[in-house]
Amino acid sequence: MSVEIKSDTIDVKGQKITLVSVRGGEEGIGTFTMGANARDGGMASLTKILYVGAEPVVSMICPNGGNKRSDKLMSLCQGFHGYDRKIYDALAVSFTRLNQGDSLTAGLRGIFSLLPDGVYTVYTSDYYPTDGNGAFFWGGYNTMHEVRGTAEVNNAYASGNVFKPCFLIPTQSLDYYSARGFNNALETVGSRLIQGIAYHVSGFHSALLKGHHGSVACVRANVPYKCAVIEKISDPYTERYAPVQSVKNESEDGTAEEQVEEQHIEPQIIEHEGITGFRSPSVKIPIELFPKDMLNIIISSLHEYKPQHFDVITAKLEAVRKKAVTNSVLPLDVLENSEQMPDTGMVESAYAISGLSDEELNCLLAGDVEYNGRVIVSPNFYASIVTACNYLQFTDLKRFVDFSIAIMDNPELSATHEYVAQRVMSQEKNAKLYTFFKSVVESGDMKYEKIINYANTFVERYAKKDRR
């Protein structure tokens, strides 16, 4: 059966969303659930596999019976070697066409034909080429470990927000890194329209199908890593809203003045029988706005299913990569720059709260979790500090440094000192922090006992960098 690909652009609250439906897809790229295995954490955890062609790329253990709120344990399997010429060519052609100025739907047509049946949205977005936890993504998944931000439902999801995934999972092992490829990419990244092609996998993480060397070059050259992103739309959602109450107030001159105040009343399900629509991480589309045939495809297909060559893929899972530890070494400055990039905690916090005023920060510094009768971030003080730090680090570095120093300088907030010190360690070049930590080291005050080790390390690193 030939692949049927249709694309359409719809308008959702003023935002243009590109939809692409695939019917009879070749199942060359996708994910599937393998079930439980006593070896991989017992019957209480599920294993998922991301595959490209007949090769397993990433193994994901989903704890708690595949609970969507649990982060996954991930590790790279064999990775995509490019043996399947059809897929290799499709990726190369799509990448070239996108950089020649083709539209996303036209440029990625070859890749869409390789996907499982379903409806996808495609857009461009800047990615941080890290694993979301401070490590450069290529080579960051060699051993099985829990990757924060891979839960399908996280704080951003839970509050009904849409968010753009921004961290990467490689589809090639680091063995494929070469200095020559890196140098070639370094010459071209400045002139590229699109740096990579990503396929959303879970939570904040997408698999990078094309553009691995480009990602290294972008970090070195300090060029935003702009990717064409493919996301599957399949999760049902039900819209909840907090009703806005209109309140009439008497103004000073006695005239009636209508004022609209946002009041946070218990969310209610709006008058809509059944679900409101279907969503992916970055878009929420009401049922009424879907083209009919695309809606039919979503309803009558599965979120994920096993490809026809499932047995071939699983047979390769037992094989160990020829070079589990690669000799390839990424440039040191690239690795260092990756540590400075936003991590999952920061991005989650940025989506979880809309803003923090100076007055609210002062309240937090005074040990209060409420401002003007409203909870600032969370009723839990420690959670409030954590979220506030992450949010500020993502949005306003200067305020983040000031806030962090104020916390660490306050002995009454000692419970949060260690966490805050950990967060600021990535700001190795910040002179204000250096001054503060130097004074901590020199003072020898007991109120700094929880951060003294961090202070020593920070001062040493700063001094080293200064000498360089």
């Binding site: 079930g35 439980a36 295995n37 294993t47 399900i269 059944g274 049922i287 009558s300 297909s301 096993k306």
Partner: protein, 290 residues
Amino acid sequence: MAFCDLRPVRASDDKTGATYIIGDVFAVYNLGSPFPVVYSWDMVKTVAITRKDMTFSFVGAKKNYCITNKMFNSVDDLLRAIALIECRQKTYGFDYQHEKRLLPMKSLYHECYSMKDTYVGEGVLDEAETAAALIVLLDFKLVKFLWLVAILVTLVVFGVLNYAIGMTRENILYFILISIASGGILALIVYIATHAFARARVKSFSDSDIASKENITFVVSREGFAVCESCVYQNRDLVAWAEADYFVESDKMFIIFKGKLPLAYIPKKAFPKKHIGGVGDIISLSLEQK
């Protein structure tokens, strides 16, 4: 989740023109309506499945949806729909009402990808064989009870005769014979009644479970077992041994029990003869035999 690759099932109501799709979501295409009404499984309040139909009720829905068996294109589709519902019930925990089942519920299964020492068989679950196996089990349990009944009745009848007529040297032999005969007859009546009850029970299970007439796949593995309609089974779904308590072996089948109720019937004839020993070994290693 087990049976996660089951394709969505479609059912059409010719009278109203409505079309239902049961899959990752439950969708209703009403005639004349431009868009379907779609419910996610977390909105399901109750699903009730009877011999003739299945009824869905949803949170916030204006009406319940009743899909009769005839609306499905085939029995395979109906069985797939039931499997989908039972798997979702495990995940979302909605109220699920159903008739008696001869096969294990799909909510007991989990997907398993390392199936070691697996024996797979196929066949139809024979009603007479199943009843016979249950009767063997009943005989085993009844034997002491029947002896007790026979002895008690014998003594009671002997006592009653002595009280009513009075024992003499001439009639004592008759009294003994009559008493023993009464005990034996009553024990026989109890025996026949329980056998009839066992047969009726299997028949009622069989009648209420549509799957009992279908081709069944039997799987016995170190990780678990499966007794599932062949049109639904996906080769990787098993009921863990921990879900069962013990098993009983008759000459024709293994019966796996959970508590006092049979969980699965595994006929020996479903497997090649050379495999029956291996099947028995795995079951006896995994469960206690009674």
